[in-house]
């Protein structure tokens, strides 16, 4: 009952610097599409079950004509099978497409988390380093190698892609890509102590051709001697 009402509100308020529903990259885009499909399906199922509940309460004579066995077989077995099978296949294919393996050897950037800041290194740019700001080229897939030097953190730029944990002792790779130049926001998404709330970073996406120069300028300004 709340869903339609809320859906209206949601469509109006999807924007925001951290909104997963205002995607600015292909990964976030396909996950947002997945969400809208699932929302439509979930709304229909919720309406179905609550409608049946209302029916059995208000029109028991109608409901009694369906045999108990049919209730359980149709509702408990057939319905989940119809809904879940295509959803799982679709999701598996979506997930496979988003993995950091298809494109030929994209640029790698290292994201190192520590309480409570992010350091980004760009091996392809001669080991340039920036703190608290991630520089990306637009329209180019990038593999971010996420590590941590202390506790577990998580690397997340909601408008570009899903998140991946920064686990000490492990290196996780996340494929991200931004469609257009601009400034985005990223944050730590795994609770990491008293500074967790403030562990954010900015993402500056440059036009691909200007990226090396912009990065060099940014790194020169930030890197300490």
């Amino acid at each position: 009952m709340l869903i339609p009402l809320a859906m209206g509100g949601m469509l109006a308020g999807c924007t925001g610097p951290l909104s997963t529903l205002a995607p600015a990259g292909p990964t976030a885009g396909s996950i947002a599409s997945l969400w809208w499909v699932m929302l439509a399906g979930a709304t229909a199922l919720f309406a179905l079950v609550m409608g049946l509940f209302a029916l059995v309460m208000l029109r028991p004579d109608w409901a009694r004509r369906i045999s108990p066995g049919r209730w359980i077989v149709l509702g408990g077995l057939v319905l989940p099978a119809i809904v879940l099978t295509p959803l799982l296949v679709f999701a598996l294919l979506t997930g496979e497409r988003l993995l950091p393996r298809l494109a030929a050897d994209p640029m790698r950037i290292e994201a190192e988390a520590r309480q409570w800041e992010w350091t980004f290194r760009y091996p392809a740019a001669g080991g340039a380093e920036t703190r608290g700001v991630l520089h990306l080229p637009a329209g180019t897939p990038v593999d971010v190698v996420v590590t941590s030097t202390d506790v577990i953190h998580a690397f997340w730029i909601p408008r570009l892609a899903g998140k991946i944990d920064a686990v000490p002792g492990h290196a996780n790779v996340l494929r991200i890509e931004a469609d257009r130049p601009g400034t985005y926001q990223g944050l730590c998404n795994e609770f990491c102590g008293v500074g967790h709330t403030g562990m954010r970073f900015d993402v500056i996406v440059h036009p691909a051709v200007e990226f090396p120069a912009s990065l060099a300028a940014a790194a020169a300004g930030k890197v300490q001697p």
Binding site: M10, W35, A42, P80, D150, G169, F191
Partner: protein, 854 residues
């Protein structure tokens, strides 16, 4: 309890009488035997009705505390950049909100319901181990108190309720905050585990005669499956807590990536418990619904067999999907797809139950009353939570939604809404049973709507704010317009919900105080808990029924007076014994006369000693911990020493022309099955430990270690041999006792062999390379060998108890349970010991195989 009156076995039995006067006199005699004394003697209570209510009331108090903490977080988050709380305080508040709601409210509440209702619904007078129930209650109360006091002292756990390490390690949480969680929660968990064993054994062996498993009311199945799940789910968490506490206290690096440990091992152990825990909390609530819904609809439950199959399937599935809490830790996608599919498939058994309930409502004439309102509240929240659950099971979506407020919304729908609504519905439904009064329904309806509207307002909006990117566990947020108004509305909803819960509690209290008195079943129910005068007498049933149909369609109104007149089994008293019947596990044929222990302070003292051990551990006074642990163990041995009888009774009449042996004189009394299920739990813990070793070997960073383990083969083989020999001697001792020969020599030899095994294992531990504090490999080897030492030590306690009981005449060729238990334990120790020592021996080979690591 040693009762050695010299009456002959039969003379105490009086003939069943048909008059009301006889019913009253029987009531008086039974009450005299079963009652809990007044005043301070209440602390000695072991009666399931008394303890069940204590569990539920205490759980409701913790629900209140947890609720207040939840409201504090909503105050803090109501507006952007709020300064109501410091981040450190906020971290303690949200950690304790989750920990209290799950460990101190949800699980103890289901235990209270199980303790109070199960014996009544199954037609028996009490649970199998009343003193253990009492011990479990005190452990829960003391553990919960330790956690709550830590909050008042400002040193409460602050690493989140799942305590991810390294954040919870002594490097990043140097204070005692994390120790409070690890020790306090483990204390409560062990109490939950003892109760789970008791629930399983009681359901399997103590039902009304004739109640075969397939005649058991569906509630019995739900509780049986839940308790079995607890036996399998708690050990991984208990193991994880022990390992993390030993890392914090003694520097053993199981989870420290710099020394060959892996923080992901903690996550696996935690969620191996944590995911089944969701179903452990939900299934009893579904059991309450499956019991209430048919009665409220005036019909019988549809799809009894389908539901039994569904909940067994759900139990199995729930152990295979823990990784869906870990989709973002970097596990390969195809592995995730497996867990994703498993998680989605859980929708099937859940849907079977939902549609069975709908079909039940459809077959009957459902009435709109207060419990039914809560059933409606449950349906809407549970379906919603189930649907978002399927969404989160979809891996790519979880990559976005994980650890945002979307997840917070989802799990509040599935474990707050789907617990609170059935629970309050059940309170309204069963309160007449507890109090003998029916509701006045003035406040009930507005209270429900406030809860319902407030709940949805609070948590539905969290889905949206989560999708808009708000992570969980942040103490404040900048003024992002879309987050601001959603958070404010969530907070307002939270207050509406809180007012609703407060009104519901006032309403329930008013019913307890002012409700209209009723003498019997106000719902026209058909299960046995209503076949007794209400509120129930301490003995429950004045005599036990014989069940000949499925026990959820009984003519309660006819059965109750006959039982009160003593026309069933055991409708008399003798020797001042608290008697009930034990039945065959599947057929329900009566097999033994179970005599239960009377009220005693022993559980209280034992729990106090246990609490002292926990507190001294917190204070890092390890010598005191050892002392208090020894006192606890001594009290357990003391309790065991006095159990049962010091003479044989032979077969005793139990009414209706049946004669049965006393439980002390059968081969497999409840105590035997309790040990069997305890060993199942223990084997789960052992398997988790082996899994931990293999997991570290396969995936932990900083392997291989510098030193290669070089275990002394001769010593290791000697330790294995000593364990095997002790098992043989224990078997010989049992054979001797049963064959009417003295078992003392064999028991002495078994003791010596166990002592030798302990000594050898200690020498092996001392020689472990790399040193246990230097690398996780050494730490794991030490853990495996310590497991052997502890189990051999407990084997010694079994032999000690048997020796004491032989000396005091409590053991005899017919009363040989002590040596049976010792034999079983030592067999188990020898087998797991061989595996553990064998693994330690295999470590060098494992390390050289590291090249094969994927």
């Amino acid at each position: 309890m040693s009762s050695s009156q010299d009456d002959t076995a039969t003379s105490g039995a009086s003939q069943p009488a048909a008059s009301a006067g006889a019913a009253l006199s029987l009531h008086r005699q039974l009450t005299e035997i079963w009652k809990t004394g007044p005043g301070w003697q209440r602390l000695a209570a072991v009666n399931h009705s008394v303890l069940g209510i204590r569990f539920m009331v205490t759980a409701l108090v913790f629900f209140g505390i947890g609720g207040v903490l939840g409201m504090l977080t909503r105050v803090q988050l109501a507006t952007p950049m709020a300064t109501f709380m410091e981040p450190g305080t906020y971290n303690q508040v949200f950690t304790m909100h989750g920990s209290i709601m799950l460990f101190l409210f949800a699980i103890p509440m289901l235990e209270g319901i199980a303790v109070y209702l199960t014996p009544k619904i199954l037609g028996t007078r009490d649970f199998a181990f009343p003193r253990l129930t009492a011990y479990g209650y005190w452990c829960y109360l003391f553990g919960g108190t330790i956690l709550t006091v830590s909050l008042l002292a400002g040193v409460a756990p602050d690493s989140g309720w799942f305590m991810y390490t390294p954040l919870s390690s002594n490097v990043y949480t140097p204070g005692i905050n994390a120790d409070v969680w690890l020790l306090g929660v483990t204390f409560v968990e062990i109490s939950a585990l003892t109760l789970a064993v008791e629930i399983v054994v009681s359901i399997l062996t103590m039902r009304a005669p004739g109640m075969s498993l397939d005649r058991m009311p569906i509630f019995g199945w739900y509780m049986l499956v839940t308790a079995l799940m607890m036996i399998l789910a708690f050990p991984p968490l208990i193991l994880g807590s022990i390992l993390l506490e030993s890392e914090r206290a003694f520097g053993l690096p199981f989870f420290d990536p710099t020394r060959g440990g892996d923080p992901l091992l903690w996550q696996h152990l935690f969620w191996l418990f944590g995911h089944p825990d969701v179903y452990i909390i939900f299934l009893p609530m579904a059991g309450l619904l499956s019991t209430m819904i048919p009665v409220l609809a005036g019909t019988v439950l549809v799809g009894y067999r389908a539901i039994v199959v569904a909940i067994i399937g759900l139990a199995f599935a729930s152990f295979g999907i823990w990784v869906h809490h870990m989709f973002t830790v970097g596990i390969p996608h195809l592995a995730l797809a497996f867990f994703s599919t498993g998680s989605a498939i859980v929708a099937v058994p859940t849907a079977v139950q939902i549609f069975a309930w709908l079909a039940t409502l459809a077959q009957g004439k459902p009435r709109w009353n207060v419990p039914m309102l809560y059933v409606f509240g449950f349906f809407s929240t549970f379906v919603m939570g189930g649907l978002t659950g399927v969404m989160l099971a979809i891996v790519p979506f979880d990559w976005q939604a994980h650890d945002t407020y979307f997840v917070v919304a989802h799990f509040h729908y599935v474990i707050a809404g789907s617990v609170a609504f059935p629970l309050f519905g059940a309170l309204y439904y069963w309160l007449p049973l507890l109090t003998g009064r029916v509701a006045v329904y003035r406040l009930s309806v507005p209270a429900f709507w406030l809860i319902f509207v407030g709940f949805n307002m609070t948590f539905f909006l969290m889905h949206l704010v989560g999708l808009l990117g708000m992570p969980r566990r942040i103490y404040t947020y900048p003024d992002v317009e879309s987050w601001t108004w959603l958070n404010l509305l969530s907070s307002v909803g939270g207050f509406i919900m809180t007012i609703g819960f407060a009104l519901a509690v006032i309403d329930l209290l008013a019913q307890i105080r002012f409700g209209r008195r009723v003498r019997r079943d106000p719902w026209k129910a058909a299960t046995l808990e209503w076949a007794m005068p209400i509120p129930p007498a301490p003995y429950g049933f004045a005599s036990l029924p014989h069940v000949e149909t499925r026990a959820d369609r009984l003519a309660v109104g006819e059965i109750a007076p006959a039982l009160a007149r003593g026309e069933g089994y055991l409708g008399f008293t003798r020797h001042g014994w608290q008697e009930t019947l034990g039945v065959h596990m599947t057929t329900g044929a009566p097999e033994q006369l179970i005599v239960l222990p009377r009220a005693t302070y022993l559980p209280l003292w034992t729990a106090l000693a246990t609490a002292a051990a926990v507190l001294s551990m917190l204070a890092k006074l390890y010598w005191l911990t050892a002392l208090m642990a020894a006192v606890t163990i001594a009290l357990f041995v003391f309790a065991a020493r006095m159990a049962g009888f010091d003479r044989d009774y032979g077969r005793m009449p139990v009414g209706r022309g049946v004669s049965l042996p006393v439980h002390t004189e059968v081969v497999h009394p409840p105590a035997w099955w309790a040990l069997v299920f305890t060993l199942v739990a223990d084997a789960t813990l052992f398997t988790s430990l082996v899994f931990g070793l293999l997991f570290l070997w396969i995936s932990a960073p900083n392997w291989p270690p510098n030193g290669v383990p070089d275990t002394d083969l001769a010593l290791a083989l000697a330790a294995m041999a000593a364990l095997g020999i002790s098992a043989l001697f224990a078997r010989a001792a049992l054979r001797a006792l049963v064959g009417r020969r003295t078992p003392r020599l064999w028991m002495g030899l078994a003791t010596l062999a166990l002592l030798a095994a302990i000594g050898l294992a200690v020498v092996l531990i001392a020689g472990i390379v790399p040193h246990p504090s230097a690398h996780a490999l050494g730490a794991t080897a030490a853990a495996l060998l310590t497991f052997v030492v502890v189990h051999a030590g407990i084997g010694l306690l079994f032999l000690l108890t048997a020796t004491l009981r032989l000396a005091s005449g409590h053991a005899s060729p017919r009363r040989a349970i002590d040596l049976r238990l010792a034999r079983l334990w030592i067999d188990y120790t020898a087998i797991t010991g061989a595996v553990a020592i064998g693994l330690v021996l295999a470590l060098p080979a494992l390390v050289t195989m590291l090249g094969m690591r994927p």
